[in-house]
Symmetry: C2
Subunit: 497 residues, 2 copies
């Protein structure tokens, strides 16, 4: 694309200033054009970056520039260095991990957020940041059918939000861990946390960081559909109690990372109530699906959770990062995290919430803006229509797999993520199947037209195909399926030669 | 400003799409115009928001819209609801806490980052995100004179980065805390962390989260210039050792929050080496000043630190959030945080760094872009010129205070933050002085022309005036000083009446 050059030295005003308004507008239009062009053409680029390790570094100056450079020039570098070295998460053929979207309303929200550049640590440091966060998190509760009286705030990621939840669970024990710590005490039992063997690694990481220890994380077995077995959960709790350890927290998942399975939250909530354990629900991916009335049931029992997270930056078209965190015990969460030095004391007192007191980070970006823009620009109906379409596409794909003699599905497909593998007739050796599917995956990803990822299910190498990008349409799904079929064919023929 | 309306229903393409390129361009230009206008006029708005708690909520719909709304309409809401309810951190009269800037190059960087919307958790999920981060953090090392062989990565905030540092320090003890946790063990001593009574609250918060406990955080006394006393540090360590506790980490500060004092890092490093303690240096604010050769000395001894943080989002014109974290022990940091589930295994192995393994968050935004844009657009010389100007303005201000019979400085002014109070002749009662200065601060902030914050120094209520925004010029500083003088005068006259 043609770029109007701006004199690099003229960009910056003398003295203490930044760009002039006129200069910013001219440059801003160029960048809007660049974004527009990028989004329009991203589907033609290789999804998975094909650069070698070290290539980006080799393209960039080893030292910072002494004098100002033109940001028009930087556009060329985006096209020449950054774009080819990106794996394109905003690409319609991105089917790896969980497929996400930085939608245009969300992009504009981030633009505004960067311009305001507030730190919403206290209510008074940006009443708009604090209150808009409260409003949009209340909207989200309504969209998903969550209890209206829950307290909510936004974290960057589910990893951090789950750590905060487990920290609150630990604080709820009233064992003076905040005051006295955990090391060197003879009055503390080992603390045990329960989660399924299919929960996200961030749960275990949270337990490591919080000093719970990996050996006190019980990875509860799953059933044939990869859902946590409530009976196994209860057995594990009883075993720990008998051994004098202290169960304190259960992390259930609505939409596990590998297969998007939904743990039996009502049965788990019963157990948590029976043994007085904190119930945390990680609905980072699948929570969004509850915006559909026909999927509302996936959150059954979640109203009994002590804490709950879902990530609009996964399947609700909001640019990373935006993880919604809810709890019905804000005072416990606050106790786990609050520290107000003199330099942050305010007059507002109990009248307002200072959100820095409810998590690790003191600094808080104005993240609510982008989600506000997304919900307004799509409307609830627009979000619903798009989620339904993703689920429909996944269902079609599952049908093709089921009907194909050389492919098989390896897990149910409750949402828009399909777990499967090639399994040609006569090939039953597991190590051969693993090698075959690894080769197949690599071949598909090497085309640049699609990017799929993998997992293991019951020891079997499994291809994961996650649908969730706004630009993914039926034609793209069909094309990728054709690539998979053809690639398998080619591998077969290669072998025969 | 005049806004061209776009048909709300036409904004969204039917089916699974987002906006068309043309629609995005039209809307994007409107938003660039809005940002440009905002930045041009922000100095005329009240710095500290004057809305009452609950006002923002009262202005917004209590439920999410069912149907799409126009994002042209949303611009009106920014002007009507969000802007008046914001405290304007990008305002030239923002002198509270630490004054920061979301500069225009940084804003454009965030725009591009949102458009790419990558998650740089693994090298392969965005080689550009991982490698550009490495490159710009290497540039920053050169700019500040830090050891080139340190490993670096970007965190959102210093709070999270310091938590990561303390977690690495804990892991370095080889006490199997990762594996076995800390509770219910009889083989662990209490772990003690040392930091000055003037260090940032995030250090103590990190210790709380990590299960160290508040009572094991030793707040070391400071000298008359608010610097940690190395002798007091060593005494505290010896006392803990004698009592059978285990000292493990010292957090020194280069630029404390209240007074920007610089702890004696060389002496502290000596002590850390003597007792084999992890030395973490929090240079979140003042680290940037080392970009000036004449201020390079503030980092003396920091080359001996085990971990080090500085925040370009504080005093290097980068929009929040961007906290640079360095350590010379990447393998220990990795051991504290790595967990690689099957679904995230890659073929690159040791050839690349997967940055999710070095911190709490698995998800990682493409933050390097905005800092890259800032350094390129300003150049090192441009950043130096602006920091020098801020320091010059603070020095002038300190001079006015020192020369005024009714004001006094309460701390040295090593950088661009001035601590002072009104102290009229004859008023020597501390509670009267506190009431007077609170009233003065409130009066100044109520003008809307400037926003200053406070702290306490040796029990004395202290007004903090931090200079750090790009738009702050000499005229603004003079005006604010005049407002202070006049306000003090008015308070006096009010009393006399």
């Amino acid at each position: 694309m043609a770029i109007k050059k701006i004199d690099p030295m003229a960009q910056l005003m003398p003295g203490t200033g930044d760009m002039s308004a006129e200069q910013f507008r001219a440059l801003g239009y160029q960048y809007v054009d660049w974004v527009s062009h990028y989004l329009e053409t991203v589907g033609e680029k290789p999804v998975l970056s094909q650069v070698k390790p070290g290539w980006v570094k080799s393209q960039l100056p080893s030292s910072p520039p002494q004098d100002p450079e033109s940001l028009s020039q930087a556009i060329d570098d985006l096209d020449r260095i950054i774009t080819p070295a990106n794996t394109h998460w905003n690409h319609p053929g991105f089917f790896a991990y969980f497929s996400i979207t930085g939608s245009t309303p969300g992009i504009l929200g981030e633009l505004v957020s960067a311009a305001y550049n507030v730190n919403g640590m206290l209510w008074k440091t940006s009443p708009a940041c604090t209150e808009l966060e409260e409003v949009v998190l209340d909207w989200l509760k309504q969209m998903l059918g969550l209890p209206r009286d829950w307290f909510g705030l936004v974290n960057d990621t589910a990893s951090v939000a789950s750590l905060c939840a487990i920290a609150a669970a630990r604080e709820s024990l009233d064992l003076k861990i905040r005051e006295e710590g955990m090391a060197g005490r003879t009055d503390l039992p080992a603390l045990c946390l329960y989660t399924s063997e299919h929960s996200h690694s961030s749960i275990e990481k949270g337990a490591i960081v919080l000093g719970i220890g990996q050996k006190n994380v019980r990875k509860i077995a799953v059933d044939a559909e990869f859902k946590m077995r409530a009976d196994a959960l209860e057995s594990a709790i009883l075993e720990d109690l008998a051994a004098g350890r202290r169960p304190f927290c259960v992390c259930a998942t609505v939409g596990t990372t590998s297969t998007t399975s939904v743990d039996p939250v009502p049965a788990i909530a019963d157990i948590c109530e029976r043994y007085h354990l904190w119930l945390h629900v990680d609905a980072a991916y699948a929570g969004s699906a509850a915006v559909l009335p026909e999927f509302r049931y996936i959150l059954d029992g979640c109203d009994r959770a002590d804490s709950f997270i879902t990530n609009p930056h996964k399947w609700m078209f909001t640019p990373v990062d935006f993880s919604a965190f809810y709890t019905r015990h804000p005072e416990i969460l606050r106790r786990a995290f609050t520290l107000v030095p003199e330099y942050l004391r305010t007059d507002q007192g109990e009248e307002v919430r200072d959100l820095m007191n409810y998590g690790v980070s003191m600094g808080r970006r104005f993240r609510a803006l982008k989600f506000w823009f997304v919900v307004r620009a799509f409307g609830v109906a627009g979000i619903q229509a798009r989620l339904r379409e993703h689920i429909r596409l996944a269902k079609r794909l599952a049908g093709w797999i089921d009907a194909h003699p050389d492919f098989e599905r390896l897990a149910p497909t409750p949402f828009s993520t399909v777990c499967f593998r090639a399994h040609p007739k006569g090939v039953d050796d597991e190590s051969k199947l693993e090698a075959l599917n690894e080769q197949l995956l690599e071949r598909v990803n090497a085309t640049g037209r699609a990017f799929l990822s993998h997992t293991k299910l019951g020891g079997r190498f499994t291809i994961r195909w996650a649908i969730g990008n706004l630009r993914t349409d039926e034609a793209r799904v069909e094309e990728t399926w054709k690539i998979l079929e053809d690639s398998l064919q080619e591998i077969h023929q290669g072998r025969k030669v």
